[in-house]
Amino acid sequence: MNTVSRHVSWFKAVQIMHRLLVRQLLTKGRLVALLAVGFAYLAFATLVVRSNASTSTDQELLRVAVELMANLGFTLVVPIVSLVFASAAFGDLNEDSTLVYIWLRPMDRMPVVLGAWFAAVTVSLPLILLPLLLSTLFSYVDGSLVTSTLLAVLIVNLAYCAVFLFLGLLTKNAVVWGIGYILIWEGFVSQISELGGRIAIRGYARSTMQVITDVNLVNGQPSLVISILVPASMVLVALVLSTLRLRSLNVD
């Protein structure tokens, strides 16, 4: 009999959640569908930039590639892939009534949330980075595009995963609400309201890319520090809210 300890350390709890959810989230259907989205983007971006290659200067090509990344990659691929996995991290457990097997354990809530967030990032980040980085390698010459893509994806994926993780704990219809956030808030409210724009995650991907590539994507002079700090704060707030929500959740 080995049941001496009844306490699970933070590190162990994070590890347990991460391992479990990576396995639960990575279904064949999700993997194939989202890889298809990513590689459709890759094929499309390569086609567009290559078709401009013969007639454009390097600077014009950089502009096309960056705008493509900002308008397609960061509008569709990054938020959707993040949404699918992050909202499902707790959402699937809640919908299938299996959250009880995690909730009713002597583990603190914060590491459980952290583990779920890491799991969502672990599965979504490679699926986003692979096609987006390949598209920059296939289509363009300048290293600044690769660097900016890498940094911007990292910043916004972490933030999207935290926000959508919280959404998955908030409602059983998290994907529809998440799409609503992406389309209405990020696509509409952020365009007409300065405050709305500051809360829109996508804006920080655009400002990061602008700072590194010098291609004009946002109004004014964005700061890289702000582009990192604000999404980092969003992550913190979303994870704390998720912890509180998990604590007060009615579990089936």
Partner: protein, 312 residues
């Protein structure tokens, strides 16, 4: 408990309605046969359609189930309300100086797409996941009539989002004195707006229902709707706008294509707009064919999947 005791005890049971000699009995719990008129297939379709609308809009459920449709409805109606407000506050400055109906369609398309991503999965996916589809097929409903009920429900609620704002604009402009002159012209504008909205709603519904036929998870169906529509919109804009491809590639945008067809129905010109639609320079017949193609592809997927679907 042995049978003998049971039968003896039941002799005293005042609840029993009928009892046989061997002690078996059926209690009369007050159930009654339905003696009223049966409404048949038409009634079944109407009932299923209405229940689907109720489910989609959260009618008869708690307030939180209505929040999402209300938000989407507000976002869809916002442009029309804002322009009407401006017209009322600043006075009559003429229909030409305000938004065209086509522009109103374009303004509310995000809300319409979002609504389609919620509505169609709610209408179709849940029935398959919960095996309700099988139950429906045990009623007078057939696959065709089942789909008719679902399609009509989806189309009706999509029309509230697409037709609602432009109807509001028409009424508003009429109220401030900028509407069509005379009853005939007003009715003509109304009918044109109705059919223009119907075209956009039909294309959106068709794509959304097709995506909802492909998966048994509502979340995936919603994502598929978004990817199909926005993938098309963004692709066409990048191809035509950034990569200087022919404007015909604008047909990859299902909403742009349907809206351009609706514009033709409305008889509005888009030539003088600051940023004319990608398809403005494309031949009208090609645009109409493109709209039909989007609708037909969506409908074909739904029909194909439901013909193959096993009722278990």
């Amino acid at each position: 408990m042995n049978v003998e005791m049971n039968s003896e005890m039941l002799e005293q049971d005042t609840l029993s309605a009928s009892a046989s000699d061997d002690g078996a009995e059926i209690h009369d719990l007050g159930y009654r046969k339905f003696e009223g008129e049966r409404s048949g297939l038409v009634g079944a379709v109407r009932s299923l359609s209405w229940q689907t609308i109720r489910s989609i809009l959260g009618l008869g459920r708690k307030g939180r189930h209505k929040v999402f449709p209300i938000i989407v409805g507000v976002v869809a109606a916002l442009p029309a309300v804002v322009f009407l407000g401006v017209a009322i506050v600043l006075g009559n400055f003429g229909e030409g100086a305000t938004l065209t109906y086509s522009e109103l369609f374009a303004f509310s398309f995000t809300a319409a797409v979002l609504f389609a991503a919620m509505v169609a999965p709610e209408a179709l996916v849940r029935d398959r996941r919960d095996a309700m589809f099988t139950m429906y097929l045990s009623t007078p409903l057939t696959r065709v009539s089942y789909l008719s009920a679902k399609v009509s429900a989806v189309l009706i609620v999509m029309m509230t989002i697409v037709f609602g704002p432009v109807l509001l604009a028409l009424l508003g402009w009429t109220f401030v004195g900028s509407g069509p002159d005379g009853f005939f012209n007003w009715m003509l504008a109304f009918v044109r707006l109705f059919f223009g909205s119907l075209i956009i709603s039909a294309v959106l519904s068709s794509i959304a229902l097709a995506c909802s036929s492909l998966t048994n998870r509502r979340a995936f169906a919603s994502i598929a709707v978004i990817l199909a529509i926005f993938g098309g919109i963004i692709s066409s804009n990048v191809l035509v706008g950034d990569a200087d491809f022919s404007n015909v590639y604008g047909l990859l945008d299902p909403i742009g294509t349907a809206t351009q067809t609706a514009t033709l129905v409305l008889g509005e010109s888009t030539e003088n707009l600051d940023s004319p639609p990608l398809l403005a320079s494309v031949d009208s017949q090609v645009v109409v064919l493109g709209t039909l193609a989007w609708f037909a592809v969506g409908a074909a997927v739904v029909v194909f999947k439901y013909r193959k679907l096993e009722a278990i």
